[in-house]
């Protein structure tokens, strides 16, 4: 909320040296954060209030005139292009030579079409006062004496505090509310301006309007006052300046008064054209199927929770949200009914949210308007309107208040205060602080205060609230700082596996990225299958954030694309985070497993062989090492020919062998076990859909499937006796995988065979027989308790070779 410092000074007794900045600092430290201070009118100086003496035409320009004026001194003749120059005796704003206008324009004596003009006569726009319509600013005798410095006189020179009022403080949404706080913080007094003394007339026969509240939960208080015989026109300039400072556009004296009183008291007001009302007024909930045309001209369907003001014909206003077109005031309005009321905050909030109609009024109503303040606001507005519009307040007005609001009684104990604050604040000091913001207390025994919380503080309802009030007024800076006693039991972080994966992938040379949890629908559409069905965000900001991600792949591809666009072509990226998928469990309809995923694009790092592209085995190695870091060594890779994500010939599912194999560390050949991930080349069709124009290799591991805790290492002493190795070379059918060959070699169950590894997979068609590949394995033999003789090794190797030869497609090479 914007607070004019000029206005505030009018309400609070502040010592002359107190600046807007010092007020801002204190408010901020008391919980009403001042986000900025706008200094207005700083570059406006020297503009004076002048009186017109007469006007004559410009000798050589039809549209210009020469205005004779004075500002308390000698008469001057100023050239003016406006058509609304007042007759002799009228007052205007004159910027004489030497004056400066907003934007830094400095006035001078200047010849205009052959006539010397000392400065100029100003329009509202030229004074920095908003649009202000055509023509020059015309001042009324009420505004300022002739010769006065205009900026100072009408409050153009001001500092406007932008106060961030938290939703619990409806009382602070007004200059009066801020004045109360400032007075408390500076230990001084403040006052609420009294209604003007204006002529009052009895209500003419038949002009009375009855008010009936039909739903006292919808409306706890409704005051109506009638003002008649109004002349609509602009408000006094000082009022317009204040509204402008507070960011409110001046419209007419009628509208301006409702805004001004709202900014002063916090009470939104609404004016109905009295002559367009038919019969009495009722405050009620909307009926089923009821419609209303709001003053923006839109015919709106209402809902049963909406609160409406209705006359004999039907709804004439959406209470607290927007007036109706049928009762709207216009330039021809002379008699009005002024409404000051309080409505159910929740209903106002729902209605204004549903219709997208948030206003200064609805903002206050949904936070809570003080029912007890209504009579004052109603009187103040009616009197001000009568004065500005030269009208009369008619009758005493109506005040319906079916459910009396009472101040709340809340007890504050010394023990409660000390316990929460962590230091001692004497109750006497607490009582003083509370009194300063209108919360009266009385001793309630030795160590308790009974506080009476006024209705304008709906946020204060329990002892803790009082503790906060006392603490913020004493100052949080007085609280000591100490570390809490005791300590918690250390526990494993649920993030530990994810962090271990991050460390491993970074150590393997990849860069971590963080991407959004939601993705465009097209990204998941490209993935196809179950992955298409992401959980939908119902109110996305844009199509970029429509579905919760079901895979980390599209995000990584997007990251690669962005880097390619920046001419970075060689990439190793990874991300670790949740994906969101549906479950069959109605209680927990979604699950968020954590995935570690990586993408390789381009070439391997290294200048020695600069053109080596990444291939499957780079990704496979990363997957293997990642799983090793997660405590899994017994892996198997099974071709994933049906995968929608991976190239049918260059992709694998990652299987973890069963727990026994894991525990014993024994090499086994069967590739069964659970699937924990994928690795391979991204399906070229998918890349086309996602728009990545480079080959890419992807791997992902579901961390939850891998299991939480890494098993502790069970170490084995290194062998005491040397190994002997023998190589074996053979042709075999292309379709027989390395894992199958390993199984063949192990089928001899040779106890001395301790290790076996592929040295070569040779497929050059110029040398290899058709449909065959040449394999070279190295086999390692060892006994635990002695050094093997060559003869023993040869015998063992012969048994293994014999087993291999049993396979029909094998042909040994020499």
């Amino acid at each position: 909320m914007k607070i004019s410092f000029n206005w505030l000074r009018e309400l609070v007794e502040l010592k002359p040296g107190v600046t807007a900045d010092s007020v801002a600092d204190k408010l901020t430290l008391a919980g009403l954060e001042v986000e900025s201070i706008e200094r207005r009118g700083r570059d406006l100086s020297g503009v004076l209030v002048a009186e017109v003496r007469g006007t004559r035409p410009h000798p050589s320009a039809d549209k210009l005139s020469i205005v004779r004026l004075h500002a308390g001194g000698a008469e001057e003749e100023v050239v003016c292009g406006a058509s609304n120059v007042p007759a002799a005796g009228g007052r205007i704003a004159w910027a004489p030579p030497g004056a400066t206008l907003p934007g830094g324009r400095k006035l001078d004596r200047r010849e205009i079409r052959g006539v010397m003009s000392p400065g100029m006569i100003c329009s509202e726009a030229e004074l920095g006062l908003g649009e202000g319509g055509d023509g020059i600013l015309i001042l009324s005798p009420l505004d300022a004496p002739v010769g006065a410095d205009l900026a100072r006189q009408i409050g153009l020179l001001d500092e406007v505090l932008e106060v961030n009022v938290t939703p619990n403080r409806p009382d602070a949404l007004s200059h009066a509310g801020i004045a109360r706080e400032v007075a408390a913080l500076f230990e001084t007094s403040w006052r609420l301006p009294l209604p003007d003394e204006v002529p009052q007339v009895p209500l003419a026969q038949g002009r009375g309007v009855d008010v009936e509240i039909r739903d006292s939960t919808a409306c706890t208080r409704y005051a109506a006052r009638i003002v008649t015989g109004l002349r609509l026109g602009p408000s006094p300039i000082a009022v317009r300046v204040r509204l402008s400072a507070c960011g409110v556009r001046a419209i007419s004296n009628l509208v301006d008064v409702t805004n001004y009183v709202m900014l002063e008291t916090g009470h939104p007001l609404h004016a109905f054209d009295l002559n367009r009302l038919q019969g009495g007024i009722a405050v009620r909930r909307a009926g089923r199927g009821e419609r209303m045309k709001t003053l923006d001209g839109i015919d709106r369907p209402l809902q049963e929770n909406d609160i409406v003001i209705a006359d004999a014909r039907g709804a004439i206003a959406l209470a607290g949200v927007m007036g109706g077109a049928d009762s709207e005031v216009s330039a021809a309005t002379t008699d009005v009914l002024l409404e000051a009321a309080t409505f159910d905050p929740r209903s106002i909030r729902r209605t204004s949210k549903r219709l997208g109609l948030r206003s200064e009024a609805s903002h206050r109503f949904e936070r809570g308007v003080d029912a007890e303040g209504i009579p004052h606001a109603s009187r103040r507005a009616a009197a001000m309107l009568a004065r500005f519009g030269e009208g009369r307040v008619a009758g005493e007005g109506i005040d319906r208040y079916p459910v009396q609001q009472h101040p709340r009684r809340v007890v504050l104990s010394f023990a409660g205060l000390s316990r929460l604050a962590g230091f001692e604040i004497p109750l006497s000091q607490a009582a003083e602080k509370l009194a300063a913001i209108g919360i009266v207390t009385a001793p309630d025994g030795d160590d308790r205060l009974a506080a009476t919380v006024p209705t304008f503080r709906p946020d204060v309802g329990i002892e803790e609230d009082l503790v906060e009030e006392v603490m913020r007024l004493v100052g949080y800076e007085h609280a000591p700082a100490r570390l809490p006693r005791g300590s918690g039991a250390p526990a494993t972080s649920p993030e530990a596996p994810a962090d271990r994966a991050r460390d491993a992938l970074a150590a393997l040379g990849l860069s971590e990225i963080v991407s959004w949890g939601f993705v465009p629908r097209t990204w998941l559409g490209a993935l196809g299958g179950q992955l298409e069905g992401g959980i939908a965000v119902k109110n996305p900001i844009s199509a970029d954030y429509e579905l919760m991600r079901t895979s980390l792949l599209p995000g990584l591809v997007d990251a690669a694309k962005r880097n390619l666009a920046r001419s970075v072509f060689d990439l190793g990226l990874f991300e670790v985070g949740p994906i969101v998928r549906r479950t069959d469990d109605p209680k927990e309809p979604t699950a968020e497993p954590t995935i570690a995923a990586a993408l390789l694009v381009g070439r391997r790092p290294g200048w020695l062989k600069p053109d080596e592209a990444f291939d499957f085995f780079d990704a496979q190695r990363i997957a293997r090492e990642l799983l090793r870091a997660l405590g899994i060594t017994q892996l198997a890779f099974a071709p994933a020919r049906q995968s929608l994500l991976l190239h049918p010939g260059v992709g694998a599912e990652i299987h973890v062998r069963n727990a026994d194999a894991e525990a014993t560390g024994k090499a086994t050949a069967n590739a069964t076990g659970r699937v924990v991930g994928l690795v391979g080349e991204v399906h070229p069709r998918l890349l086309r859909k996602l728009g990545l124009e480079a080959r890419a290799f992807y791997l992902e591991v579901t961390l939850d499937a891998v299991g939480g805790e890494r098993r502790p290492v069970r170490s084995v002493a290194p062998p005491r006796f040397p190994v002997s190795s023998r190589d074996i070379s053979f042709w075999i059918d292309l379709a027989v995988s390395a894992d199958d060959q390993r199984a063949l070699l192990l089928s001899a169950a040779e106890p001395l065979l301790r290790d076996l590894a592929v040295l070569e997979d040779y497929r050059d068609p110029r040398y290899a027989p058709a449909g065959k590949k040449g394999m070279l394995w190295t086999l390692t033999y060892r006994a635990d308790e002695r050094t093997l003789t060559d003869a023993e090794v040869d015998a063992a190797h012969a048994r293994v070779v014999a087993a291999l030869k049993a396979a029909p497609s094998v042909a040994l090479r020499q």
Binding site: T166, P345, R367, R472, P494, L508
Partner: protein
């Protein structure tokens, strides 16, 4: 005459032996490999070598002549062996010398894959986790998709409460929300067991904001401590400890009254600006980091509202607690002097490569 005949034989033998040593030295001077030298050595000292050939005459000598010839033979052997050792030593020295002539350009890059990088948001999360782990806090996490009850109601923010506007929330199908803060982890933790509770909860949260200073997803870190007799002073001390560890020793912390539905009293948390040490002035002008205020805003905090305790079945008369929350992207921006929040999410490896 026998002695007259013998004498020249003895003298000749000794002379021949002495000449052999000289001849060997000449011979191996031209040899460049150890193998050739060893072969040459064998030709002189081997069983059928030239020294042995000469020594066959020894048996025909008179007993009194033998010592002198034997001595000459030993001298020749020693000389030859010495020459071998010297020559081999010289060759080895030459090899070494040649080896030492190798030069590489040490300024060329090394081979293999460089280390990768962790994301700055990961680094800052871990640093902050480490600080609170040291105070006995444990890490808890929760899901992105939450119930409205966990995200709002249990946190004293009933439906239609204006405070719901403080966090513009994403809704997903099934009446759930994308959590708008990490505070639901408080609720989950307290529902899962009795006090005391001492947790931090890092994680991504979601709000409908997307501009230069807001991203629709951003990481938060929540802290919650519930025990008997926990006070505002404990909160202040904990935050002060954090500021000292994270931003630097001797920096102050400032709590400003504020409002969150789930805490009472509530506070905004400022740390003294580490760039200007809280003076607001840096290099004679207004500090660019804190804009001259001397303080930087780091998060929100407060004492747990009794209604939150009631929602999870804790007795607000028996326990009290504090909670705090901070934005990790802001912490990372401060820590690493990142000017543009968007940098964290643009995946530019040239940016990410800095965080080794």
């Amino acid at each position: 005459m026998s002695s007259g005949e013998k004498a020249p034989i003895v003298a000749d033998l000794i002379g021949d032996l002495d000449r052999l040593a000289g001849a060997f030295a000449d011979e191996i001077g031209a040899l460049a490999t150890e193998q050739e030298i060893r072969l040459a050595q064998a030709r002189y000292l081997g069983k059928k070598g030239r020294v042995s050939e000469l020594m066959k005459a020894l048996g025909r000598l008179a007993a009194e002549d033998r010592p002198a010839v034997g001595e000459a033979a030993n001298r020749a052997k020693a000389s030859i062996e010495g020459a071998v050792a010297t020559r081999l030593g010289a060759l080895d020295e030459a090899d070494l010398h040649a080896d030492l002539a190798r030069v590489v350009d040490v300024t060329l890059p090394g081979r293999g894959w460089p280390l990768g990088t962790l994301h700055p948001l990961t680094l800052v999360r871990r640093e902050i986790e480490g600080i609170f782990l040291g105070l006995g806090f444990e890490v808890r996490t929760g899901p992105w998709i939450e119930t409205e009850w966990n995200n709002f109601d249990a946190l004293n923010t009933p439906p239609d409460h204006p405070a719901r506007d403080m966090q513009d929330t994403f809704f997903v199908e099934g009446g759930r929300v994308l959590r708008s803060h990490t505070s639901p982890v408080q609720i989950r933790t307290m529902l899962s067991g009795p006090p005391p509770v001492r947790i931090i909860a890092p994680g991504n949260v979601f709000r409908r904001d997307d501009d230069a200073t807001h991203t629709p997803m951003f990481p938060q870190m929540e802290g919650l401590l519930v025990d008997q007799g926990v006070s505002f002073a404990d909160l202040k001390g904990t935050l002060l400890y954090f500021v000292h560890r994270f931003f630097g020793p001797n920096l102050g912390v400032r709590l400003r009254p504020s409002y969150f539905p789930f805490t009472e009293p509530s506070a905004e948390v400022d740390a003294a600006c580490y760039l200007c040490s809280g003076s607001g002035q840096s290099g004679g002008r207004s500090c660019r980091l804190c804009k001259g205020s001397g303080w930087i805003e780091i998060g929100g905090a407060g004492m747990v509202h009794p209604n939150v305790f009631r929602a999870v079945g804790y007795d607000p008369r028996a326990v009290s607690g504090f909670a705090f929350g901070m934005g990790l992207s802001r912490m990372a921006m401060l820590k690493f002097e990142v000017d543009d929040l968007r940098s964290f999410y643009e995946h530019d490896v040239r940016f990410l490569a800095q965080f080794r």
